[in-house]
Symmetry: C2
Subunit: 248 residues, 2 copies
DNA sequence: GCCCAATGGATCGTTACCAGACCATTAGAC
DNA sequence: GTCTAATGGTCTGGTAACGATCCATTGGGC
């Protein structure tokens, strides 16, 4: 190796991916904040109808000033994704899911990276969780997340949120902050890709079946089987995405 | 990435880790820049004696303004880690390795997270690389990185740089930017922990032997063995660290 | 010997973002 | 009915970081 740099080398320096903008970080803090909120909604942290945390609290969570957060919220409000009510017991509420950014170009490397990294993370998470002893609460949460997925065969959007919640649930059960964060981040990238391809019922049902099997393997404390099933599951998505998006 | 998030919701929102500071990101851009430079040096991207990229270029790489970069460089210069020379064919040169920040407190969760995530990443990387066909150049680079480790039994600092280079080499051979970035980031966290414990010759020799075995498995295209060896290797470090640092 | 290109060094005006204080509105409690 | 606590909405001053420009130094090429 060496410090040839650029072309190949997304090496060690370079910090987070930060497109281009005025200040540091992701372009600017404002856009980053919007992205963060959208992601949380898309990944099912806040479902439609849910109330977001109070502005002061949410700002602290995203580590951004309230002023900037409000800018972002106003943007989302304009887009019809949230609404705000004043007064005690008021707040900001999710009204609908954000529509997919179908216009963005597809970076060929992006697909490859996102989908392969997802395979790594989810396989590992499934194995790790299967090796643990889960508390009754955790078991309940996991099975609930699994069955929730089966309730919605209607829209791609709704399914995707619940699907994401299921997979993130597994990641969270590892209690590894790094893995949780990486999984959420990667999941969102994969979801963005899934939005580009048709919604296929058969696939959804198959996915749900696989979810069930993964949960079974985890609850049966069978790490190898859990990992293997998770890998198969991820590979299914991978093939689907590559089939639709690669080479064009 | 790292650090989780607030107590309750280690969920999906929460953005990059941003301790506490004025502006956004890692406290402030200035500190982040220093950290980034130190990391690149510690992980062997720039070895002692090497010339850093020109300020204008380096600033662009780190995605930071030249003014901020210079602040950081001046700090490093004051600390004796780099020196600058003006004029054409001048530049900024690495003079010595940064000394470890032994004063920082050890977050008990940090050890656990860093060490477990490292296991996940390096196991996956080894498996993936073993599944690939490597080009002659890649094979050469890998074996070179491995043998380089054996050349230095002198100081902990030097060994750690070469050790990091070896592991990052494997990560880079996956050609997965996300995995490369995560590996570098995690590696640095682990290194910071290793700086707190004594440097044990026997362990280093054992590590080198394991490196050799891992390379053998990769070149033999034996993914399972490569993954298994990588896991054993990482677990060795894990036990060492836990033994010295946990519970006190 | 002169010039030039590449580098580090310095300065300046602008802006994005922040912290904190304050105002406005609301629903429930009393 | 009034009070109160929790919330969204508004405003102000401070500053970190930026982009841009210019200066200073140096070694090699002509």
């Amino acid at each position: 190796m060496d410090r040839a740099e650029e072309p190949g080398g997304p090496g060690t320096a370079g910090s987070q991916p930060r497109p281009g903008g005025k200040h540091a970080r992701g372009g600017n803090v404002f856009e980053h904040t919007i992205a963060e909120l959208l992601r949380a909604i898309r990944l099912g942290k806040y479902l439609v109808g849910d109330k977001l945390p109070a502005e002061r609290e949410l700002a602290a969570q995203i580590r951004v000033s309230r002023a900037t957060l409000r800018q972002a919220l106003i943007e989302l409000q304009t887009a019809g994704i949230v609404t705000s009510r004043r007064g005690r017991y008021g707040g900001t509420f999710v009204t609908r899911l954000p529509s997919a950014d179908t216009d963005e170009r597809i970076d060929p490397g992006e697909l490859d990276d996102a989908v392969r990294f997802r395979l790594v993370l989810e396989t590992a998470a499934a194995r790790i969780v299967a090796e643990q002893d889960l508390s009754p609460n955790e078991v309940a949460a996991l099975t609930a997340a699994e069955t929730d997925c089966r309730t919605v065969f209607a829209s791609a959007e709704q399914f995707r949120v619940l699907d994401a919640r299921f997979h993130l649930m597994i990641a969270e059960l590892t209690h590894m902050p790094s893995l949780i964060y990486a999984s959420a981040s990667t999941r969102d990238r994969v979801n963005a890709l899934l939005d580009r391809i048709p919604f296929i019922h058969t696939n959804v049902e198959h996915s749900c079946d696989q979810h069930r099997e993964i949960v079974d393997a985890i609850l049966a404390s069978d790490p190898d089987r859990a990992a293997d099933l998770a890998a198969q599951h991820a590979e299914g998505t991978e093939k689907l995405l590559r089939g639709f998006l690669e080479q064009r």
